[in-house]
């Protein structure tokens, strides 16, 4: 990605608009440091027992389904891999553990709440926005339903209510933004988790905790906190005893996903410089071409026909 951006800027430079690319390069250095004040959740998958109580809590909190708690004890759902749906903001999947077959790995999935979310950058009306506390939230009132956010998300998280004819919504984890806005409020899944699996807190503190855990038990943990750098960093962070690719985590580089498009956007259209230049050039061409053709009669003829 980084390579792509550099190549694009080089390309711009070749196009003799060096000044534009310089201003773009300056703009791109906006770092994600300020995001460290945001909150997130650390998921220690080595602690997860696959009880699916987080699914239950989430479904109840967001009124997605009203299945009773007992129904979540059904382990047959683990036989096929499930993924997020318009009525499932979080799902737990089971993966075989090649080292110890009796101890499969359970992984909870939901929106990772990126620090520089592609969905929010893609949304043309600002319906998706990253809040200061780290949650990436959705405002259905603004949404046009173009689903560009779904195209943009590298984790394929947002789901759509295709069956709703009049008021379909983009659906995904909200990080329980309304609950956590209150003092001491926890996301529903975190509150419900009976294990030591989900920890809610400041992202910077969660990262420290994650590395502490890895350092304290390097035999158990993979030396990788998923979400620390992926896509420029995410609010949800994962620890695992197995390589993340084995657990169907996607390999995503450290470059924030929207960098390339935003660089293109803001370098070409900065202050409308390039379009205005083009406008001026074409105006000059028009003038020269017309005078060159002795535009005495034709000027009026043109104004009528064009």
């Amino acid at each position: 990605m980084d390579l792509n951006r550099r190549r694009f800027l080089q390309f711009l430079g070749m196009g003799a608009v060096g000044t534009v690319s310089v201003s773009a390069a300056a703009a791109e250095s906006s770092s994600l440091e300020d995001a460290s004040g945001g909150y997130g959740v650390l998921v220690d998958t080595t602690e997860c027992i696959g009880c699916r109580k987080c699914e239950y809590a989430c479904n109840r909190e967001h009124r997605l389904t009203d299945l009773p708690l007992e129904r979540y004890e059904d382990t047959s759902v683990f036989e096929t891999e499930r993924w997020l749906q318009a009525n499932a903001y979080t799902v737990v999947n089971r993966f075989p553990n090649p080292e110890d077959e009796a101890k499969p790995v359970f992984v909870k999935s939901q929106c990772l709440h990126c620090l520089d979310p592609a969905c929010a950058s893609a949304c043309l009306v600002g319906a998706l926005q990253r809040q200061e506390n780290g949650a990436v939230t959705y405002d259905a009132w603004k949404c046009m339903g173009c689903r560009y956010c779904m195209v943009a998300c590298p984790f394929q998280v947002p789901a759509y209510e295709y069956d709703n004819a009049l008021t379909p919504q983009v659906r995904k984890c909200t990080l329980c933004a309304t609950r956590t806005a209150q003092e001491g409020g926890l996301p529903a899944c975190v509150e419900m988790c009976p294990q030591n699996c989900l920890t809610y807190g400041k992202r910077s503190e969660l990262l420290a905790l994650a590395h502490e855990k890895i350092d304290g038990n390097p035999e158990l943990y993979e030396d990788h906190v998923y979400g620390e750098t992926e896509a420029g960093g995410t609010s949800w962070l994962y620890l695992a005893a197995r390589p993340f690719t084995e657990l169907k985590f996607q390999e995503i580089g450290p470059e924030p996903i929207p960098r390339l498009t935003e660089t293109i956007q803001h370098s070409i259209f900065k202050f409308g410089a390039l379009p205005l230049m083009l406008y001026g050039m074409l105006g000059a061409v028009m003038r020269i071409a017309r005078s060159g053709h002795g535009g005495h009669v034709e000027t009026t003829a043109e104004e009528e026909v064009s």
């Binding site: 592609a118 046009m144 689903r147 209510e161 406008y279 074409l282 061409v285 028009m286 064009s306």
Partner: protein, 408 residues
């Protein structure tokens, strides 16, 4: 070439067997569209959470915008570069662009989940300047306004001095006539500004349309995912402008039983291999620079579609149109132009649908029959409206009854 072309409404029987087929396609699509608005997207499309964009975005919107490029490319040629000999194709190209963009809007309305919010991007509190789609949306809205303003004088020309309202409204004839003259006069004075604006806006959103998919690096096939995709989109839009004008001009001539306007189309087509050549060189350089050219022969569906797009849509028509004999033959010129048009269609389908490979997708997206029928219906309706417009308004050059067989 004479600059003083006169235009006239076409006088032909409106209903032909072809028109009836178009009407049937339109009626089918309308019924399906009603169904879609009552029962939702799921009832008619094969869209999923993994494939949120389908045929309607790839064809109705993306290809629709590209194929409307005849509008700005001919207006640039005739009015900015002042090549008056091409004046004869400006009006039909303008009409096609105006209708094309109108139907892009209609197609988009069908695809949007909350279509009644389509105006939101124009509302300042919801502006989101980081979004490529925002830029596309604003440009398309602005350009549509320019296109209607460019077409308005043609409507005025039709009625000025001929306003004849029915019955009691006849007393307003003079007022309406004065209004038309004033609109026409005002537009005439600012037309040069609008013409340049149309070209600039086109360059902006044609390229931005190519930047849309750059936000999905982990889902796109490397043959199409390149940071210069916006440039390639702009180049291919420019390259398809004149082939599209040739294609529709000859189609219209045939449909109305007129002689193909080879005296304009042949010189116009001389530009096509230049633009196709530039595109070909750029695309090849891109593949070589990114070291992805081995993927062309990887034998996958994607590589097959890529070869189809480049071979059939770029290399073949490029080679054909290099020959001036081919450019003078109506049949060969028509075939080559159609290849370029189909090539851009395949390219846009490739970028928006074929190249898009989300890792979690269980099965590939294949459009439903209803999606295909609605797209076909939109195209049919566009052709019908075109036919109505050229019979009502002076869009096509006036036929010279004694015209010599201008072709050999």
């Amino acid at each position: 070439m004479a600059a003083d072309i006169t235009y006239a409404p076409v006088q032909r029987r409106f209903f032909t067997p072809g028109v009836c087929v178009l009407l049937a396609l339109m009626a089918t699509a309308m019924a399906l569209a009603v169904y879609r608005f009552i029962f939702g997207l799921e009832s008619v499309t094969n869209l999923t959470n993994q494939y949120p964009w389908g045929l309607w975005i790839g064809v109705d919107v993306a290809t629709g915008v590209a194929l409307a490029a005849g509008g700005f490319t001919t207006s640039a040629l005739a009015h900015i570069f002042h090549r008056k000999r091409f004046e004869a194709v400006v009006r039909p190209a303008l009409l096609t662009a105006m209708l094309g963009y109108t139907f892009v809007g209609l197609g988009l309305m069908l695809d949007l989940g909350r279509y009644y919010n389509i105006w939101h991007p124009a509302w300042p509190t919801m502006w989101q300047g980081n979004s490529v789609l925002f830029e596309v949306g604003m440009c398309v809205m602005a350009y549509l306004t320019v296109l209607y303003s460019e077409f308005a004088p043609i409507v005025c020309e039709r009625f000025i001095g001929r306003v004849n309202l029915p019955g009691r409204l006849a007393s307003w004839n003079g007022t309406v006539d004065r209004m038309l003259r004033s609109v026409n006069g005002t537009l005439g004075r600012v037309m040069f500004l609008l013409i340049i604006a149309g070209v600039v806006l086109s360059c902006m959103h044609q390229s931005s349309l190519g930047a849309l998919m750059l936000i999905a690096p982990y889902k796109m096939h490397a043959l199409w995912y390149t940071p210069i995709l916006p440039l390639l989109f702009l180049m291919s839009a420019i390259a398809v402008g004149y082939p599209m004008v040739v294609f529709e001009s000859m189609l219209a001539s045939r449909s109305f039983g007129r002689k193909p306007e080879m005296d304009v189309l042949t010189p116009l087509s001389a530009f096509i291999p230049i633009f196709l050549g530039i595109y070909l060189v750029t695309k090849t350089a891109d593949l070589l620079m990114r070291d992805v050219y081995p993927l062309v022969f990887e034998g996958s569906f994607q590589s097959f579609m890529f070869l189809l797009e480049m071979g059939g849509g770029v290399v073949l028509p490029f080679a054909m149109l290099l020959s001036s004999r081919m450019r003078r033959s109506p049949r060969m010129l028509f075939s080559a132009s159609m290849l370029v048009v189909l090539g851009v269609l395949v390219n846009r389908i490739n970028v928006f649908l074929v190249a898009y490979r989300p890792p979690r997708a269980e099965s590939a997206y294949i459009p439903s029959v209803a999606e295909v029928l609605i797209t076909a219906g939109l195209i049919a309706t566009l052709m019908l409206v075109y036919r109505v417009m050229v019979t009502l308004f002076p869009v096509l050059p006036k036929e010279h009854p004694a015209a010599l067989p201008g072709e050999n």
